[in-house]
């Protein structure tokens, strides 16, 4: 499988990365080289093989059913959460108008 400029433009749009014509044209052969190289995976017989989901066997834990079990991930830290926001306003994240 290979990609053309239109497909790359579609992927870039899905990934929310603005790309000009020149950049798209550079990406097409680069992505195709990589995709062509990974094609070799198709030659492996994977009948009956489960896709890996966890690399090291590990139980899924439940945390203690208490409020603010770990202070580092607890609530009540609005100012910390907003400290690095490019446009925090009135205790919220500011974004451009989305509703007319």
């Amino acid at each position: 499988m290979s990609v053309d400029k239109q497909t790359v433009a579609k992927i870039a749009s899905l990934a929310r990365i603005k790309m000009g014509d020149e950049q798209l044209e550079t990406m097409v052969p680069e992505l195709n080289n990589i995709l062509e190289w990974v094609e070799q995976l198709g030659e492996v017989n994977v009948d009956g093989v489960e896709p890996m989901s966890a690399v090291i066997p590990n139980e899924l834990r439940l945390r203690d059913d208490v409020i603010d079990a770990d202070p580092k991930t607890a609530g009540g830290r609005r100012d910390d959460v907003l400290a690095n926001a490019p446009a925090a306003e009135h205790g919220f994240f500011g974004v451009p108008k989305v509703i007319e």
Binding site: R16, I17, L31, A85
Partner: protein
């Protein structure tokens, strides 16, 4: 005195501070001065001399008060700029996180501070840890302290932990943290003549580490000896309830159990690791490594890891897929860069911000990841790659019936000049061909220096162990270290 102190590693500093041979403050001042002199390496994005001094003073005071000193008390280290450090800019070497100042400390860095270590600064890396040469950083290339004999061309320190490898090899830090997703600790360690170990997936908490590919990312130490790695890994590792994949297991005392006597142990030599394009000097060092481990009492056995050649292409589907998802968080809303052209809406803001904030390699991987996860291609690419990941892991499981540890080269070549492999991303990816299989299987793996080649550049050997058996990896590494007698240091040009 002060240049002598910068020649010391973790163990020597720890023991010297404990024994009163010198103060932790003298050590921190020496390394701070060495860091300040080494701007030409571009190993650090920011330096934090006060952090190192404060930790040193705390260690000296604890000693004066007659208290027992912690495992890393008085040891100043470099911190890869992928770990969130409270109040200190954390960028992942990207423009999109430039100026980001975490309000919290990553678990691994907190563990190190709790063990008495101090921070010399935040180390440069490939942007979002994506790269094998440290040429994708927004903050410029890192140079290796090593140069080819008779040349002053800037060489690659490897990547992505290239600031870490450069700083430790240049003796401007006794040790540094690294992270390894597909070889990012081992390959730079090999390129710069130092040691680096990636533990079993889950040993070190990922909480507060900027995510690249979550099922692969694992932190580990980089230092100049196996003993130093054992000490520092002990300080970094441990169960963390804030990371769902953290291993709920005790951390062994790896340092205390170090033992280079390999009698009764079997070392596997995978036949598939003899690939076209591998330097003959690398193959020679592999032979030498076998002889060293045999001398240490081990039995050498041939093994087969049949899916080795498929590991790297599978990795270049799985890692970008996870990255495309993880990096969706950089949206110009919550932290980092925002690029909002006049009159632009929300969607334009996302696209402009990400176009301005991500470097080319990061964009390339996000696009690949988005493509292989998209409707219609998901099964052909992503599911197929995850099945092959299972087969790669099964290869290792079968091998453990025949051996206790695996010996292989770390990289197919020695370091290369900066700029020499930039034309083709694929050629660059092949650097990690020997490192990626252990990453896909989540296994502990280490690179230790073996020798220097005819160009005067270091070569590394790789040891891969069973899950949770970092000890065997470290022990075999120690056996090699004792026999290689590797004590080459780069000539200072910076």
């Amino acid at each position: 005195m002060s240049t002598e102190l910068t020649k010391l590693g973790v163990k020597a500093i720890r023991d010297g501070v404990r024994g009163g041979d010198f103060t932790a403050r003298e050590v921190a001042e020496s390394f701070n001065a060495a860091v300040a002199e080494a701007a030409a390496l571009n190993a650090f994005i920011v330096t934090t001399p006060d952090h190192a001094l404060d930790a040193a003073d705390a260690a000296d005071k604890a000693r004066a008060d007659g208290k027992e000193l912690a495992a890393m008390a008085g040891v100043p280290i470099g911190m890869k700029d992928l770990f969130a450090t409270k109040g200190v800019q954390t960028t992942a070497a990207s423009h999109i996180l430039e100026g980001f100042t975490p309000q919290y400390e990553s678990t691994v860095s907190q563990n190190l501070w709790d063990a008495g270590a101090g921070m010399l600064g935040k180390l440069n890396l490939d942007q979002f840890a994506m790269g094998s040469s440290n040429e994708t950083s927004f903050f410029g290339n890192v140079s290796s302290p090593w140069q080819k004999s008779g040349s002053n061309a800037a060489m690659s320190p490897g990547g992505s932990s290239g600031g870490s490898s450069s700083a430790v090899a240049a003796r401007i830090a006794p040790a540094a943290t690294g992270t390894d997703t597909g070889g990012s600790i081992r390959q730079p360690a090999a390129f710069t003549g130092i040691c680096g170990i990636k533990p079993t997936y889950g040993r070190c908490s990922r909480w507060g580490v900027v995510a690249f590919a979550s099922s692969l990312d694992q932190a580990g130490p980089m230092a100049r000896s196996v003993e130093d790695c054992a000490i520092m890994l002990g300080a970094m590792a441990g169960f963390d309830p804030k990371d769902a994949t953290s291993l709920k297991m005790d951390v062994p005392d790896w340092e205390a159990a170090l033992n280079a006597d390999l009698k009764g142990k079997k070392v596997g030599i995978p036949k598939e690791y003899t690939m076209d394009g591998t330097d003959s000097a690398i193959l020679d060092s592999w032979e030498q490594g076998k002889a060293w481990l045999k001398d240490a009492g081990a039995q050498i056995v041939d093994i087969s890891l049949p899916h080795t050649k498929y590991a790297l292409p599978a990795y270049y589907i799985i890692a970008p897929a996870e990255a495309s998802s993880n990096l969706a968080r950089y949206d110009g809303v919550r932290y980092g860069l925002r690029d909002l052209p006049e009159g632009a809406g929300l969607q334009d803001m996302y696209a402009e911000t990400r176009a301005a904030g991500f470097g080319d390699e990061v964009k390339r991987r996000i696009l690949i990841g988005t493509y292989v996860l998209s409707a219609g291609f998901y099964d052909a690419y992503y599911t197929q790659a995850q099945k092959i990941r299972t087969l790669v892991a099964q290869d290792f499981e079968k091998a453990w019936a025949h051996c206790d540890v695996i010996l292989a080269p770390t990289t197919p070549t020695a370091s290369f000049p900066l700029g020499s492999l930039n034309d083709d991303p694929l050629t660059m990816y092949l650097n990690d061909v020997f490192a990626v299989p252990a990453s896909l299987a989540g296994l502990p793996a280490m690179s230790v220096p073996a020798t220097i080649n005819s160009d005067g550049l270091p070569l590394g050997l790789q040891l891969v162990g069973k899950p949770f058996d970092e000890q065997m990896v470290l022990n075999a590494g120690l056996a090699i270290q004792q026999r290689s007698g590797f004590d080459h240091a780069p000539a200072k040009w910076w």
